[in-house]
């Protein structure tokens, strides 16, 4: 797969609520390689966005505690000063945000917003920057680049704005891109366009991409490897085919069974019992998914479940997957093929 770009070791992100700190990201260890799309999947509140913001150091300092290491080029990003971090953010590591409207400054012309990061990170002259910006706009598939260069964000459609956000992230040829729900705010046909665009761009730039999403369809179409998160922990890591066709952890299997598939029409969907625990009420010991699969014997769970490599490159947390079954008697997983 190539060399590792980013190495996350035992990262924990805790937020202060009143007097206590609660971990929203709990002991996450992950590696992102060159030329690879690593998807982080989970429901809202599982800590996937908190993880992304921790890598970029974008949390409010006063009420956040970060432990562990985020290693990029032998530097621990968590221990860098803001000044040194700014040399990396927007330069070596680019970020694509979910909502393209709020990610852009409404009062600044598109061209200027793309040039901004080049101004800080490169020695390009004004005309070189403009030339590069026009190239970037062309690269992300925007027609009539000369005009768009001078336009304001409100003059563009949602899909076009997201392309601009991608252009900003790509401005300094990043080695790593963090895309936080890049297509969630977009219409289906636009989503398809943006996914295709990101795939081609990745082939060109060979950057590593961390793709954060809740949409398993987006995962299936873009990811090389997938990390499934539940309640702040990673519960399963494997390549995308394994996750979709041969998932082991009960949470992954439940998630896949709860999306409408296109083969078994009108069949009942699997519903995961209970609710995602809030960060304050989370039981910190034992298998965190156990309360939601109450029909599984308590003995099946481990006391202190850790991620274990059960097959080469397939990591699963907790032993409860061995004898997991669905109460409705669903035996085989559904086979996901679209017409």
């Amino acid at each position: 797969m190539g060399n590792p770009v980013l190495n996350i070791r035992n990262l924990s992100t805790s937020f202060r609520i009143k007097e206590n700190y609660y971990a929203a990201v709990d002991d996450v260890t992950l590696t992102v390689n060159e030329n690879e799309v690593l998807a982080i999947v989970g429901e809202s509140g599982c800590g996937k966005s908190a993880l992304a913001l921790s890598i970029m150091g974008l949390h409010q300092k006063e009420r956040t505690k970060l432990d562990g290491e985020v290693n990029y080029k032998n530097q621990n990003l968590l221990r860098l000063s803001d000044g040194n971090l700014n040399k990396i953010r927007g330069n070596d590591i680019g970020m694509i945000f979910q909502d393209p409207l709020t990610a852009l400054n409404p009062l600044v012309r598109i061209g200027k917003q793309i040039e901004e990061s080049m101004k800080y990170h490169t020695k390009y002259s004004g005309s070189q920057r403009k030339k590069r910006t026009l190239e970037l706009l062309e690269k992300v598939g925007i027609p009539n680049v000369q005009r768009v260069y001078k336009q304001y964000p409100h003059e563009l459609s949602g899909g076009m704005r997201q392309r601009v956000v991608i252009a900003i992230a790509l401005a300094c040829d990043p080695k790593l891109l963090i895309a936080d729900e890049p297509t969630t705010a977009l219409d289906v046909t636009i989503q398809a366009q943006i996914m295709d665009l990101m795939k081609t761009l990745q082939e060109d730039t060979k950057a590593g991409i961390i793709l954060i999403t809740h949409d398993l369809g987006v995962v299936a179409e873009m990811a090389d490897r997938v990390a499934v998160m539940y309640a702040g922990q990673i519960v399963e890591v494997a390549d995308v085919d394994t996750i979709l066709k041969n998932p082991l952890h009960p949470y992954t299997r439940s998630l896949l069974n709860s999306i409408p598939s296109n083969i078994s029409n009108k069949s009942r969907l699997h519903v995961i019992d209970g609710v995602v625990p809030s960060i304050q009420n989370l039981k910190r010991t034992g298998c965190r998914f156990a309360p939601r699969i109450g029909w599984i014997d308590e003995e099946q769970h481990q006391e202190n479940p850790l991620l274990e490599e059960v097959e080469p490159n397939h990591w699963v947390r907790c032993s409860c997957y061995h004898n997991f079954y669905f109460p409705e008697g669903k035996t085989g997983e559904k086979h996901y093929v679209l017409a």
Binding site: A192, V240, S254, I259, P260, R268, V271
Partner: protein
């Protein structure tokens, strides 16, 4: 007889401008839409944001005014009725809204939220009212004690079920569900969708299901109409639309569904490119020179396409 028949429905909004703010043009939010719902079926209204699907739903229930056209409910044209006359029929048509966070009044208890529709139509003693509310609340799978709580005490899926309970309170015949699950997480989506199927059988409901998510529409609907810029471009059963799409826009929508088979990724990208090319070449067959689609033409008993 069909339960609901929408005939050439048009909803135009005036654009004012120039001297004296005269009407210079219209926004054709919905421009000549016709479809029929049989009792007990689930009809899907599909399209991207801004295509007029929500406006259509809101007009049927009376939240927007139709510019022209008929909305025949059991044979009565709702579009012609005055507000007072319409009241008789509002009981039979109810709506489930998209966002469970903003569609419930945060300052009312669940009891008051769910009882509100019935307070408009019947005089009940508090005791009777509480019983009715508790019955419905139990039907949607919530604890009967829940009626004394406030909306913020519930999760997204539970709130959406409170919204459904409110819609069920008057024993409606038709429920208009406007993107009922798009604000919810996948696992919660499954819960609400399953539940909607259950109560459909139990209360013999007809659904008009408005959504942009083609996976969910396919899972829920028997028949569907594809909307584009305020007009229908294709109508048919689920199988016809998904296996044999005819209109170029429908093809584009279907191709946009993410590919779950990782081996076919490259192919899917190619298919999308092909369809984009096809779109450029065959545009004139499907859209006139103003970019509006042609009228629907039947190609089989159930399947019709807007083509020249």
């Amino acid at each position: 007889m069909s339960l609901l028949k929408v005939n050439d429905l048009k909803i135009h909004y005036p654009i004012r401008g120039g001297f004296f703010r005269t009407v210079v043009d219209h926004v054709r939010a919905v421009d000549g839409v016709s479809f029929e719902l049989q009792p007990g079926e689930t009809y899907g209204l599909v399209g991207e944001s801004g295509c007029g699907k929500t406006t259509t739903g809101r007009t049927i229930i009376g939240l927007n005014k139709a510019t022209s056209g008929e909305i025949l409910f059991n044979g009565t044209d709702l579009a012609q009725l005055s507000r007072g006359e319409r009241r008789k029929y509002t009981k039979d048509i109810q709506m489930i809204f998209q966002d469970p966070y903003s569609s419930l009044n945060a300052r009312k208890r669940v009891l008051d939220i769910v009882a509100e529709p019935i307070r408009n139509f019947e005089r009940l003693s508090p005791e009777e009212e509480r019983k009715r509310v508790q019955f419905v609340i139990e039907r949607v799978g919530l604890n009967p004690e829940a009626i004394y709580k406030y909306p913020h005490e519930f999760s997204g899926g539970q709130r959406q079920r409170i919204g459904i309970a409110r819609a069920l309170m008057l024993n409606p015949k038709l429920i208009i569900a406007d993107e009922p699950v798009s604000a919810l997480d996948v696992s919660v989506q499954a819960q609400v969708l399953n539940f909607m199927q259950d109560i459909q059988k139990e209360f013999n409901l007809t659904y008009l299901f408005i959504s942009h998510d083609l996976g969910i529409i396919r899972h829920m609907c028997d028949r569907m109409g594809i909307m584009y810029r305020g007009q229908f471009v294709e109508e048919g059963t689920s199988e016809e639309i998904y296996n044999d799409p005819q209109h170029i826009y429908t093809k584009r929508l279907i191709a946009a569904i993410p590919e779950m088979e990782t081996a076919n990724r490259k192919e899917k990208t190619l298919i999308r490119k092909q369809i984009a090319d096809e779109y450029r070449q065959t545009k004139d067959q499907f859209f006139d020179k103003d970019g509006r689609s042609f009228g629907l033409k039947k190609i089989s008993d159930t399947h019709s396409v807007a083509m020249q």
